[in-house]
Symmetry: C2
């Protein structure tokens, strides 16, 4: 096991710290930039040698403290990581599932508190991501913009005056930016009013995904909203657009929460407390059920229905109960049935059951 | 409220004391005799005046210490009892649902520790029942036989040398006896082998019913087995017959329990502990769900999977969480939704959650 990864384990990372504006509904804000190096073909066209050169160059610049003052990173070459360690990084939202599954020269640079990650040779040469807890899109944008500028000074980006940043997939051409917020919408789900929200979001070209991005199902009432188009709008416009939409959704969710609390208090308390009871007593539990129950517990803590649960423990459980984290914690590969038993034991211990 | 009933509340009564032979599977043994007074028509034919006379006469004999030494009883006239109090007696297996629903002169005599009850003017003039915890059919028969003899000395029973005791319903003619045992068969239910047992029992003319007798569904894995025919066999033969069958079923149940514990321990522990978690945390719970969860908890306690639960508290909860008991405890009529919330709070308190 890479000892560096152990330093990450045991905390929830920036994406689930549970702080920041609107943090009862908005888990985290994320800005991602897709960048490619001028003079090298996109990865789909690149020869192995070129691919290796891109990684070496990018790594050298990233590690060489070229990102700005105090921006120390941990660089991990994926070839040095076993499947559990890769999954661990996916679960911490530091790399994509696709990046984890790849074999040739690839890497990821992880910044302090996991607020920054730079995937090297994922779909594009560089995928820079900055995360902030709660609704902090402007802050995330300011931060990533500085990092992007710093890298731009030591690397030459593939850029067209007409189209903007050139990217492997046409949907990213332009700003190369994707903005996402992770929302926790249990009351909207409970009251079956989610479709209404999804419909409005699709109309304004936002996509909605599950906890682990593209192609994953929404679990535990977590929904990730992203902009779909990055061409024809400035970065600031995209940030403003998302910044305008999210508080509306958060308000909607909070209105439903209050309504449930007022009109169906016993029903709601029952759901939340039964979740607590199951989490504290189950002897085997799947990762999906865990997310669903933790989601209810989070709602209960936010609404003051449940006390005595440490918010940090709760946030940490969302990540640490995932398969990669569990196996890393146990230092071995576990079959699904064994994972479910280990997960249940781990949750009981963390919740002091 | 009748203050006499308060003395009964707070304990589980004989039928759920949880002691006696085979008590991990056999909850209780019951012998019931149907008797009618000579010189009075069956109740279906009786005029109101005759009915009143039967009750007065029976009550006088029962209360007049004619049952044998030390057999003091509490006599309750049903007209003095409100619906909650009647339901309370049903839930304690002291009167039938039909008896509780009737309005004319009826009563019930309840013996010490609720091991004896005599319904007056239910379907027959007298329905005498003796209960024993666990598998104690012979003991119950010896006891009821003495009581029956004692009553016979002061009352003249309707009896035909050819048919035996005459009863309102032909199925009871002969001995007038019904023997029942209440069994707890969670492992048989879990392993879906119940049908096999039911089939064998039906072949030898035994009927299987739920927790509250005729027409009630089996809940919480409780099954009541009774003899169907009381004509043409002596009381001793009927007792011997049942006494021969029950240990076989108990053995079958116990074999499955051990098998589950050996082959599916985590699964079983998970089911049991989740039940504990729900019981200790729910804010609203129906009486059916309560029985199901208590049934799992009972299994867990019997198998040593759960500790720290007082067996007496557990037994008492089976009865005290029933609607009549809850309303009696709260001293008021409660709507179903309110009952479910009160029930959940009561369970949490009793389990020290």
């Amino acid at each position: 096991m890479k000892p560096e990864l152990d330093d990450l384990a045991g905390s929830a990372g920036e994406w689930l710290r549970g702080t920041g504006p609107e943090s009862d509904v908005v888990i985290s804000s994320r800005v991602r930039l897709a960048r490619n190096l001028d003079g090298y073909p996109f990865l789909t066209q690149a020869a192995p040698k070129q691919r290796a050169e891109v990684e070496a160059l990018a790594r050298e610049r990233i590690e060489g403290n070229k990102l700005g003052k105090g921006m120390n990173v941990l660089y991990l070459a994926l070839k040095d990581l076993n499947p559990i360690e890769r999954l661990f990084l996916v679960e911490r939202h530091l790399i994509s599932r696709e990046h984890a599954a790849g074999d040739a020269d690839r890497g990821v640079a992880v910044g302090k508190r996991e607020a920054l990650s730079i995937m090297v040779n994922e779909e594009d040469h560089l995928r820079i991501q900055v995360l902030r807890s709660g609704l902090q899109l402007q802050e995330a944008w300011d931060e990533i913009s500085k990092i992007d500028d710093a890298l731009d000074r030591s690397l030459t980006y593939a850029f067209s005056p007409q189209f903007g940043y050139l990217t492997a997939c046409p949907t990213n051409v332009g700003t190369g930016m994707r903005i996402s917020v992770m929302l926790h919408l249990p009351a909207v789900v409970m009251t079956k009013t989610l479709d209404k929200i999804l419909h409005s979001l699709q109309r304004i070209n936002f996509t909605v995904r599950g906890l682990y991005g593209e192609g994953t199902q929404a679990t535990g009432d977590f929904y990730q909203i992203s902009n779909q188009v990055s061409l024809g709008k400035s970065e600031e416009e995209l940030v403003q657009e998302m910044q305008g939409v999210v508080p509306e959704i958060a308000k909607y969710e909070k209105t439903w929460r209050e309504k449930l609390l007022k009109e169906k208090r016993t029903w709601l308390e029952d759901k939340v407390w039964r979740a607590v009871g199951t989490l504290k007593n189950a002897r085997t539990i799947s990762s999906d059920e865990t997310l669903e129950l933790l989601s209810l517990l989070r709602l209960g803590v936010n609404l003051g229905v449940v006390d005595g649960v440490d918010q940090r423990v709760l946030n940490e459980l969302f990540v640490s109960t995932q398969p990669g984290h569990l196996q890393k914690h146990e230092h071995k590969i576990l079959e699904a049935a064994d994972r479910d038993a280990v997960r249940a034991a781990y949750i009981r211990k963390r919740l002091g059951a």
